[in-house]
């Protein structure tokens, strides 16, 4: 019971800190912390979606950054056309339209690539998910009209018609945008927690531990895994949708496989013991990155050493960390 209470306290503390610290910093005149926290919260959403695959279903997808990229371009491209003309059916500043695009594009991409990747196991699965995300990377690089390698500026944030006018909900305002991201994070955490403890989640957990037995009990895990893959892809896409709005900029760099590696790193850092693990991991990652990159140009070095250390000396390695999720 003690550990349950400690965990509840920890989770609550994380949520409260995320809600108070950036505003405290804003009050103290350090406005850039709001940016750091916005990035943190968006990456926490992405890491949470990946944890549904990695921690709950035991599927080591190494191409999750692809969904961030797709979600981001689902904002960038319609805004580009709305600003410079062309492709009338696509062009729009409407945030709801961007969201519909994000969900359908990411859902479809996850469905197709998942259907192929999930036919394989282990190292094949890792490499294939990696390859498919690299495919998106090269695809985005090849789109000369949208800046190719250099990416694309997003001139305005998505407009949420109705909300903006009726409630003065202007997401160009940084703190309102932060609250929006925070709200999305809460919703995502709630969804992931529900899924994890549902009938569906138990099938995923069982198939992660012993696929042979699951099949011998009359359940083919393929469909359930594919469903999880699609949900995780869509949530990853929503993170990308937010990221494009946050940075006013999208580029193929968001999809590089090292980005997928960083998302995994966050989950490893935060541990898989609760749904807040990815949030804590994203926080550690972003804050470390911020601090280290201010100290030294070579901040990737301590990052690499830390990753190596966690894997080599974290009890039982990564999987050991992931396995210690039982009592949630």
């Amino acid at each position: 019971m003690d550990s349950t209470n400690a965990r509840r306290f920890g989770s609550g503390l994380v949520l409260v800190l995320l809600l108070t610290v950036p505003f405290l910093m804003l009050y103290l005149g350090k406005a850039f912390w709001l940016d750091i926290f916005t990035r943190l919260v968006i990456l926490a959403i992405a890491a949470s979606s990946l944890s549904l695959l990695l921690s709950v279903a035991g599927l080591p997808s190494f191409g999750h950054a692809a969904y961030l990229g797709l979600g981001a371009y689902a904002v960038g491209i319609p805004v580009y056309f709305a600003t410079y003309g062309g492709a009338d059916w696509l062009a729009s500043y409407n945030g709801w339209w961007h969201l519909v695009l994000t969900i359908s594009v990411c859902g479809l991409f996850a469905l197709v690539t998942g259907a192929i990747s999930l036919r394989t196991r282990g190292v094949h699965f890792i490499m294939i998910t990696m390859a498919f995300s690299q495919m998106i990377f090269y695809l985005l690089v090849s789109l000369e009209e949208f800046g190719g390698d250099d990416g694309l500026s997003v001139d305005l944030r998505s407009e949420f018609l109705g909300l903006d006018k009726r409630f003065g909900f202007n997401i160009e305002e940084p703190w309102i945008f932060y609250l929006l991201c925070y709200g999305v994070l809460l919703v995502v955490l709630f969804i992931v927690s529900r899924l994890r403890h549902s009938h569906f989640g138990r099938v995923l957990a069982a198939a992660k531990q012993n696929e042979t037995r699951v099949r011998a009990l009359g359940v083919n895990p393929y469909g359930y895994r594919l469903f999880a893959f699609v949900i995780a892809g869509i949530i990853g896409g929503v993170a990308g949708f937010l990221y494009a709005n946050f940075s006013y900029f999208v580029s193929p760099g968001m999809v590089e496989w090292t980005r997928s590696g960083e998302l995994m790193f966050m989950i490893i850092l935060g541990g898989a013991s609760s749904i807040f693990g990815p949030v804590v991991g994203a926080a550690c990652f972003v804050l470390l990155e911020h601090v280290l990159s201010r100290i030294t140009l070579f901040w990737h070095l301590p990052f690499g050493l830390l990753l190596l250390g966690v894997v080599l000396f974290g009890r039982g390695g990564v999987i050991g960390l992931l396995k210690r999720e039982r009592d949630t």
Binding site: L195, S198, R202, A206, A216, G218, V219, Y224
Partner: protein
């Protein structure tokens, strides 16, 4: 009438014929024991019946339905279930969760995303009933790994029973059990006959003779004898090929 039947089931691995034109027939509500020396092809036969391995040639029928082309999960849903020679459990689940998941697997699809499965009364009650039958109810809340070997074997059977099989294949259920645990399991398996049909692969001859109504003998992938247990065990070729060596 036969509930499970194979016709000319053949499986080769390279040059080795693991099962050679095996035609086996199980009658309803009886215990059918399958015996044979190590390497005779018993486990390969079970694997082909369960759908884990595809036969090179031959057919499998469950009742009058040809299930040769069905995959493993589909066969289980059709009523053909198995246990494993080496206990195959969900090690991070509690004992109750192991059985509750097995019940969940039997009760239709699991595309249910919202309600908490741990609080599902239907699943937990049925799980607890099964655990009670197997005498594991007092261990319901511990993890599967912390059970003794014998208890794990019992959990294995509880999980298979949750699937409500019309035919249950038991791959060496007594393996590694003490004498007392074995005799308790024998009593339990006797009571199961009224609900299901059992195919029993077992090395423990006392258990086989205590339980088996019918007996088949597999040697080098060939079925050398199959029939009512009392008759088969007295046949001279069977005694030569197998029983004589073992006894």
């Amino acid at each position: 009438m036969s509930v499970l039947r194979t016709e000319q089931l053949t499986k080769r691995f390279g040059g080795v014929t693991a099962t050679d034109s095996v035609s086996l027939s199980l009658s309803e509500h009886r215990v059918h024991a399958l015996i044979g020396p190590n390497g005779a092809g018993k486990t390969t036969l079970i694997a082909q019946l369960s759908g884990e391995l595809a036969p090179d040639s031959g057919q499998v029928f469950l009742g009058d339905k040809n299930i040769t082309k069905l995959n493993e999960p589909a066969r289980v849903r059709a009523g053909l279930c198995r246990t494993f020679q080496i206990s195959s459990l969900f090690h991070q689940f509690s004992v109750r969760e192991n059985v509750a998941f097995s019940v969940q697997a039997e009760s239709g699809h699991s595309y249910r995303f919202w309600s908490k499965v741990a609080n599902n009364k239907t699943l937990n009650t049925r799980a607890d009933n099964l655990l009670e039958t197997l005498g594991l109810l007092d261990k319901a809340n511990v993890t599967a790994t912390s059970l003794s070997h014998g208890e794990q074997r019992q959990l294995e059977i509880a999980m298979a029973l949750a699937s409500k099989p019309s035919v249950l294949m038991l791959d060496e259920p007594m393996a590694g059990m003490g004498a007392e645990e074995s005799s308790r399991l024998i009593e339990l398996l006797k009571t199961l006959k009224s609900e299901t049909t059992l195919l029993l692969v077992e090395h423990d001859m006392d258990a086989v003779f205590a339980l088996a109504d019918d007996l088949s003998v597999l040697v080098n992938g060939c079925l050398i004898a199959s029939g009512v247990a009392a008759e088969v065990r007295t046949r001279p070729d069977v005694i030569d090929a197998y029983l004589g060596v073992s006894a």
